[in-house]
């Protein structure tokens, strides 16, 4: 059959956000693909140069609207390193709890979007239902459901509310039960799900590293890379957890990516429970950050989608001289043609859904 290009986007039910995936198909087989991005480019790195250090948190929150806290935290970490200040211990623990709550919420959003990609609308409604629990927790903690503006340079905005620990435990208990009973059954134990995901969208570990794929997508290729372990920030070295790496055969396919993310949901719950246990019950949660700073700060963190990197230069003024953001999805998106080639057109959706695209941070 004749080859032709199909535009998947920018207005298409497949694209989770505003980007265009041009797919060349031969009948039903994808022969080539071209991601076309930049529809949501807002010039973040430049805007941040005209705002004060503390006010930039508002912007970094909006980098990825489903994973605000992790991005703001990466920025705060870089600025703190530049200023040479240290978050108090309780502040660090609160940050870990907030990060993992945000990671669960973000992964649930991914799971919710992955369901309709495969034609399973029930998965969307179920995942969003449980995401609501974690949004409630985050709201309890920070006061907002979205764009929380919670991490601050030098700590976090406010202390945990009084009954937060009990509510957190209750929600996580309920959530783990749902994961084991409902999601596990409707996704992982479904035969049709295996048919759709196993062996499609393969990328080798070498290719993935070459193209700069990070995070769960790289761990699905069998590479044990988790910055929370390799380059611990905050108090992650005190927490006992296992990075979710795919060890069996068939590494790098959609199923491996699904399993890695899915198991991270459980792992993050364990991290939160441990953090609530080990956290000092009282103490300062924030230090005063200086208004002006000079120097260079560099922080890389394990975002929910991969390695988020912030590089901040200050020239002694109260605003950064230069900010560089490394977005994990930007690099992953460059590698998607490798995953797509040779698969069926219907699978292109399943593959792009499994890499978890967030256009906000991709276009910056």
């Amino acid at each position: 059959m004749t080859e032709f290009w199909i535009n998947m986007g920018p207005q298409h039910p497949m694209t989770h956000g505003l980007w265009n995936m041009k797919v060349q198909v031969d009948g039903e087989t994808v022969t080539d693909a071209k991601p076309e991005i930049g529809y949501l480019h807002r010039g973040y790195e430049k805007i941040m140069e005209v705002r004060e250090f503390q006010k930039n948190v508002v912007l970094t929150d909006r980098l990825c609207y489903v994973s605000s806290i992790t991005w703001s935290h990466a920025y705060c970490l870089a600025v703190e390193k530049m200023m040479g200040i240290e978050t108090p211990e309780r502040g660090q623990w609160i940050r870990v709890v907030a990060l993992e709550l945000q990671r669960i919420a973000s992964h649930l959003m991914w799971l919710a979007a992955y369901g309709p990609d495969l034609g399973l609308l029930t998965g969307l409604l179920w995942a969003l239902r449980e995401r609501e629990l974690f949004l409630d927790l985050i709201q309890l903690m920070s006061g907002a459901r979205m764009n929380q503006n919670y991490p601050r340079v030098g700590g976090v905005r406010n202390d945990l509310p009084e009954n937060f620990e009990a509510m957190c435990r209750r929600s996580i208990e309920h959530f783990l039960e749902k994961v084991d009973n409902e999601y596990q059954r409707v996704f992982q134990e479904s035969k049709v799900f295996h048919m759709r995901t196993e062996g499609v969208g393969k990328i080798s570990a070498a290719d993935a590293i070459d193209w700069g794929v990070t995070g769960p997508n790289l761990r699905a290729c069998g590479v044990n890379v988790d910055l929370r372990r390799l380059d611990p920030y905050e108090v992650y070295e005190e927490i006992d957890f296992e990075p979710q790496v795919w060890h069996d055969g068939g590494a790098g396919d959609s199923y491996a990516r699904f399993v890695c993310r899915f198991n991270e949901l459980r792992e993050s719950c364990q991290i939160i429970l441990q953090a609530l246990e080990k956290m000092p019950k009282t103490g300062p949660y924030r230090v005063k950050a200086p208004r002006r700073a000079e120097g260079e700060g560099y922080a890389k963190t394990e975002d929910s989608r991969g390695e988020a990197l912030f590089y901040v230069i200050g020239d002694g003024d109260d605003r950064p001289y230069r900010v560089k953001i490394r977005s994990p999805v930007f690099c992953t998106m460059a590698a998607t043609p490798i995953m797509l080639r040779g698969n069926k057109l219907a699978d292109s959706v399943a593959i792009l859904g499994s890499v978890d695209v967030c256009v906000g941070e991709m276009d910056k």
């Binding site: 239902r129 799900f193 048919m195 219907a346």
Partner: protein, 427 residues
């Protein structure tokens, strides 16, 4: 004791209806004839008493009345199928999958109507049963603009919804709702229904090609490939069934299933074909029927994730409503076929027969049993389709050609062996 139909003969009922209407019209004509004398002859022509005096035959045998009776019978079936069952089926599906997904689902009901006069203050408009939502959606679709894409092949683009809708309605010409409630009692009724079913791939292909859009084209090609692949095992499993029935008349097939197969204590197991060696054919038939209805594990023709809306992408307004809503009509027809062929159709116990003015009225008529079976089968289909992901196109064709066709051939061999060995008698 088996049930009786509520409508013993559709045409007799319609004739009574027509004669009643004619009587009303006749009275109006007599009243008008007092003012306009030439109308008296016309009024007398419609009046049974005057006809008897003038030595003319009964009114019911006049060609005009027969034609009107036919038209009313066809209209009754169409309204029954679309206005009653189609809307109810959509409501059942939307409500049922909403409950699967832990939400309320549609809630527009009679309380939400702006001109509902009674007790509005204490009836929240958002807590109804939702039955009127589908009607509201239909009204919305009627109000929308019908857009024809500039590069579309206009004639074919407009023909295909007509082809799809009319071929779907043709199914109901031959589909009986009970032993009395049908339009035509065809000797080859089942074959007629399959012929009407098999016209749809052509309409879908025309729709997909004529819109001149890549999504619709791929969707149309997929639909045609899939529907054709699944029609073969479906018809093969019906051939296996014909070994047992010896007939293609739905009324005969149901009649054969009314006897008791064996008794299990107080429970009498009826001789439904699903309890016979036809069980393999039943499974193959149900799976292929699910594909024929384009339900979710097999809904690749309009896989909304990759193909926007598949072959219906370019349709808008009520044309979209036709091609989209008639999917449920095909679902009703498919579930009715499964019920007729394998689940005993409308046979069931009657419990009590009342007598209303000398006319026996069964308390649980055949129509009720038939509807119960149709809706139960549909709910099982809905249940399956909202709990599994979509299967890929090559996997669907693999299932169709490599699994279902050998199974249906196996069903034919089993059926033939059962007949040859005398395990089951024909008819």
């Amino acid at each position: 004791m088996t049930s009786a139909p509520l409508v013993p003969n559709l045409f007799a009922v319609c004739e009574v209806l027509v004669l009643a209407i004619v009587w009303v019209v006749d009275q109006i004509l007599y009243a008008l004839a007092g003012l306009i004398p030439p109308l008296t002859g016309l009024a007398q022509w419609f009046d049974p008493v005057a006809r008897a005096r003038l030595g003319m035959g009964p009114l019911g045998s006049e060609l005009l009345i027969v034609v009107v009776t036919w038209l009313i019978a066809v209209t009754v079936i169409v309204i029954w199928a679309t206005l009653v069952n189609l809307l109810t089926m959509m409501w059942v599906e939307r409500k049922f999958y909403s409950r699967l997904q832990d939400r309320y689902g549609i809630m527009i009901s009679i309380w939400s109507l702006p001109f509902w006069p009674f007790n509005r203050a204490h009836r929240p408009t958002h807590r109804g049963t939702g039955y009127l939502q589908n009607i509201a959606d239909g009204v919305k679709l009627l109000q929308k603009e019908n857009i024809t894409p500039r590069n579309a092949d206009s004639a074919m683009f407009h023909i295909s919804p007509v082809l799809i809708a009319s071929s779907t309605l043709m199914i109901f010409a031959a589909l009986p709702w009970s032993s009395g409630f049908y339009v035509a009692n065809l000797e080859l009724g089942i074959l007629f229904i399959f012929a009407a079913f098999s016209l749809a791939p052509l309409g879908i292909l025309i729709a997909g090609w004529s819109a001149n859009n890549k999504y619709t084209l791929v969707g149309g090609l997929r639909a045609a490939a899939m529907l054709m692949a699944y029609e073969i095992p479906m018809i093969l499993s019906v051939i296996a069934l014909v070994f047992f029935t010896g007939s293609l008349n739905p009324l005969t097939i149901v009649k054969q299933q009314e006897r008791t197969l064996f008794s299990l204590g107080p429970l009498a197991i009826p001789a439904w074909y699903v309890f016979s060696p036809q069980i393999l054919g039943f499974i193959v038939f149900s799976v292929s029927m699910m594909a024929e209805m384009e339900r979710i594990p097999f809904d690749i023709p309009e896989a909304e994730a990759e193909l926007v809306e598949g072959w219906t992408t370019e349709y808008s307004g009520m044309r979209f409503g036709l091609v989209f809503g008639f999917k449920w009509l095909r679902m009703i027809a498919g579930a009715a076929l499964i019920a007729i062929l394998y689940l005993g159709g409308w046979s069931g116990p009657v419990f009590v027969t009342l007598s209303v003015g000398g006319v026996p009225v069964p308390i649980v008529p055949e129509e009720a049993w038939f509807l119960l079976k149709i809706y139960l089968i549909s709910i099982v289909f809905i249940w399956i389709s909202w709990s599994v992901p979509r299967v890929r196109i090559d996997q669907i064709l693999n299932i169709g050609w490599k699994k279902l066709i050998p199974y249906s051939l196996g069903a034919i061999i089993i059926a033939a062996a059962a007949i040859a060995s005398g395990l089951w008698a024909v008819g």
